[in-house]
Symmetry: C2
């Protein structure tokens, strides 16, 4: 019985690691499968190095670890690309020039992770002590020992900060190169590697690094290995990303907190003023009512529209998974919804709630709004539309605490802080020959139809690559969609890591 | 110059302490003035004893201090009235029976204070290290030494927890009795004293104590010495109080926090659902739109209406002091506004704001609503009107976390927790002969017109006195309105404490 079970488990694993459609890719997938023990040991070691912005030494250690992996593989010109700011985490660069190759692909991933609050993680976990589970924590997954025979299963998961976002990207790229090399295959084009260390901090030095190393970083296409595959579990390619910007709102009422009995009905409640303002921003169908909010949107091309229509519907699955009965913008599919700009309340706060609540009229109420952007939107113009709407609701808008004079003159006062950093959306055409080759390559790794997303929901500073390098970018993610990226209990599904190795190898071998 | 200044200061103090209209009251005011040094020393000692619910031993010490004050004054039957619950702070009782007197007044104040967070207090202050200031902290008031000659000034302030709410009440009553006694005056009626120790905790054992000591606590009228005088600085008598009850609201969206890029526009935002709901509760004129919200209100009697019309307007002064340009319910004066039921947002919270904000769609949004009540309102009926309104907005209402089945069946889900304790409003008729004598007595202590408030904004469990003792109550407050009661930096204006002594004495001498 035990033998039978083991054989079955091994089969599941093997099957999951080898859906490749060509002999070359099958041999790469098999190589990775056979060396799963050493690959996972190395990956676990990588995940154990803290990679948060608050720990610059940890980030330097991560960069050193990656350099060693690259040197071990014989990758050339391995070096750190440093910003002029002392202590800023470097990007790690390397390249493999292929005799006769006419085109160059550059692979991007980032080795830094989101900040961690270990107290929010499950008690069994520590963000930098990677732990193997037999499935999803909280859905029957149990902590298990490293398999001595290296027989990992696809549905197992490793929990650690950065497990999927985005050390899995770094790892899949470098293990793919290794497997290709060890199985005697040759890259189809020149390969470059660029691993950033500041993505989760908003890439504050990326522009400087790109500008300084223009020549070194020339390529025909950047492959951005970041983010999740489609919620259906199918592989996907994203041709663009949403943009993003923020606005902070604070509404003022009486200067001191008031007793709600002595002043309730008479002194204005700032939370009520703020909720009325926020409620004015959306109609009953979830559409944003701000004037011109949808006006700038660049329509999808026929090819993009076709791709969007072919994205498999996961709406029913996701509603069930998330426990929601109705969507925000009524009548739109998830894919359609992320191809429109959005207005989201990230947070709202006034007074106290729960056990801390007291019978007061608070002095202010505040909210943070994020505006997601699509092609055609400009982040500053989108902020301005929001501010114009606020003014149209009768508010006096300031960017400071109101003075006594302002308080005396204006019934409704709001402090609006425009987020100073905005990122516009980006999209790469599906019609570029190199892009078409990428689609074909990824398709050759799977029996499923690859999902082509005109826009991915996340925001990456892809416009910087266009601006400083005149480069094209395309995103080929590998992580499972339920990876808890940016939150506690981040994880990567083992099957996604290994499937990602094959995906990256397919790209390295395209001609 | 120094001599002249001192003489001037002394005059200010004397004048402020003696606006009494009868020789008897003038002699009492003068006695208090002449003994200001010892009175303030004793009061300061009293304020230094911690009086928060979290410190039961401190509360017992306060009760013991009050008993000693009463015994020192020859008050009889001094005793602690204990609830059956071990450790509950006792009420302190005492009485003075006057030969030939046919009526009995019972004086109420409470010796416990609101919880303190010393970190929120001004750096110069500690809640239980009473400190004398030359005026209002933050408005030119400076810390000053105790005057060796006892020449306190009216506008000086003592900062400490309980300074005005409500140890000033306890002190004014006992110092008044002392001054009356020492100046050879006799009470006009039998006097009883009842000092509660749990008022700020919601008087959880008051019903039991009243019920158990029905006989001992018989009287013709309770004088509640608690709360502030009118904002104009004039003395006031309040014939009733607003009631109060709470409702906790929590709106649910996706079960896990979502990336606003990947799901914004598609997965509902709980903060947006909650703000839409809250915004539906008031119209543009600040009137509550909940069906029947104002229906149960008992109209004011002609005498109450007349009193209300004669309340001096402080609307302009308060708007200026609070820094607001427009009132909540448009067109109503402050006095009118507190004679109507109100709906106030005590607090609202969803996601994070400020530096903690992240690009998420939160999983829930919550708010605490307090409903202030006036005569005619029933707290449970008022809660029900709110809940019916929520249902009419299409919400599925539950009192637990929603199940998966409920999530699948209902687009809008809200958890509503009814506050389990509600207090109805209370009002005593102005036409009762003993009440008329109280008005005349307070009027005899001042040259200003005494303000007669049909309803005070605060909520006290006065209905318990009606319920258990069939007693009448009337509120005669003495504290300054800007005393920061319930908040940090609580204080009492010296003039208010001494003026309060005369007020209490006038009541003790009425026949």
């Amino acid at each position: 019985m035990k033998k039978l079970l083991l054989a079955f488990l091994y089969c599941t694993a093997l099957h999951q690691f080898s859906t490749a459609q060509t002999p070359a890719l099958r041999s790469i997938a098999q190589y990775a499968q056979q060396h799963a023990g050493s690959i996972m040991a190395n990956f676990t070691e990588f995940l154990a190095i803290p990679n948060v912005a608050a720990d610059p030494a940890g980030l330097q250690q991560n960069a050193a670890f990656i350099m060693k992996m690259m040197n071990d593989r014989g990758i050339q010109k391995v070096q750190l690309l440093q910003a002029s700011t002392t202590g800023a985490p470097p990007a790690v660069y390397g390249e493999v020039m292929v005799p006769g190759a006419t085109q160059t692909l550059i692979f991007y991933a980032h080795y830094d992770g989101q900040p961690v609050n270990p107290a929010q993680w499950d008690k069994q976990l520590n963000p930098f002590q990677p732990k193997l589970f037999s499935g999803v924590l909280g859905k029957g997954g149990m902590a298990i020992a490293t398999p001595a025979d290296g027989a990992y299963q696809s549905d197992w998961r490793i929990y650690a900060r950065g497990a999927s976002d985005d050390k899995a990207g770094v790892a899949a790229i470098l293990y793919a190169y290794d497997a290709m090399h060890k199985t005697g295959q040759t890259p189809g084009c020149n390969l470059k590697f660029f691993f950033e260390g500041e993505e989760e901090a908003g890439s504050p030095h990326l522009n400087e690094i790109l500008d300084k190393h223009k020549q070194l970083l020339q390529s025909d296409l950047w492959i951005m290995c970041d983010g999740p595959v489609h919620q259906s579990g199918k592989k996907q390619i994203a041709f663009g990303v949403r943009g993003d910007t923020h606005v902070d709102l604070t509404v003022y009422a009486a200067k001191r907190p008031l007793h709600s009995g002595h002043y309730g009905n008479w002194s204005p409640n700032p939370a009520m003023i703020l909720v009325e303002l926020l409620a004015s921003m959306k109609d009953d169908d979830g559409r944003v009512t701000i004037k011109g909010f949808y006006d700038d949107v660049t329509p999808l091309t026929p090819a993009e529209r076709k791709a969007l229509d072919e994205v498999p519907s996961v709406d029913g699955q996701m509603k069930n998974e998330l426990g929601i009965a109705q969507t925000d913008m009524r009548g739109l599919s998830l894919s359609e919804a992320i191809n429109l700009p959005s207005l989201n309340i990230n947070g709202i706060q006034s007074g106290n709630v729960g056990k801390m609540a007291s019978n007061q009229i608070p002095t202010y109420a505040t909210a943070v709004i994020d505006l997601r952007l699509v092609m055609g939107n400009d982040w500053q113009r989108q902020q301005q539309k929001l501010i114009d709407h606020i003014k149209a609701q009768g508010f006096y808008v300031t960017d400071k605490e109101p003075t006594d004079e302002e308080r005396a003159a204006h019934p409704k006062i709001i402090k609006v802080l425009r987020g100073e950093a905005g990122t516009n959306a980006q999209r790469t055409s599906m019609d570029i020959p190199m892009v078409k080759k990428v689609i074909a390559a990824v398709q050759s790794t799977t029996t499923d139809q690859v999902v082509l997303q005109p826009t991915m929901g996340g925001t990456l500073p892809l416009f910087l690559f266009e601006q400083y390098l005149q480069a094209k970018t395309i995103t080929v993610p590998i992580a499972n969609h339920d990876n808890n990226q940016h939150a506690e209990n981040e994880n990567i599904r083992i099957g996604n890591l290994f499937s990602g190795i094959t995906t990256m190898a397919s790209l390295m071998m395209l001609k």
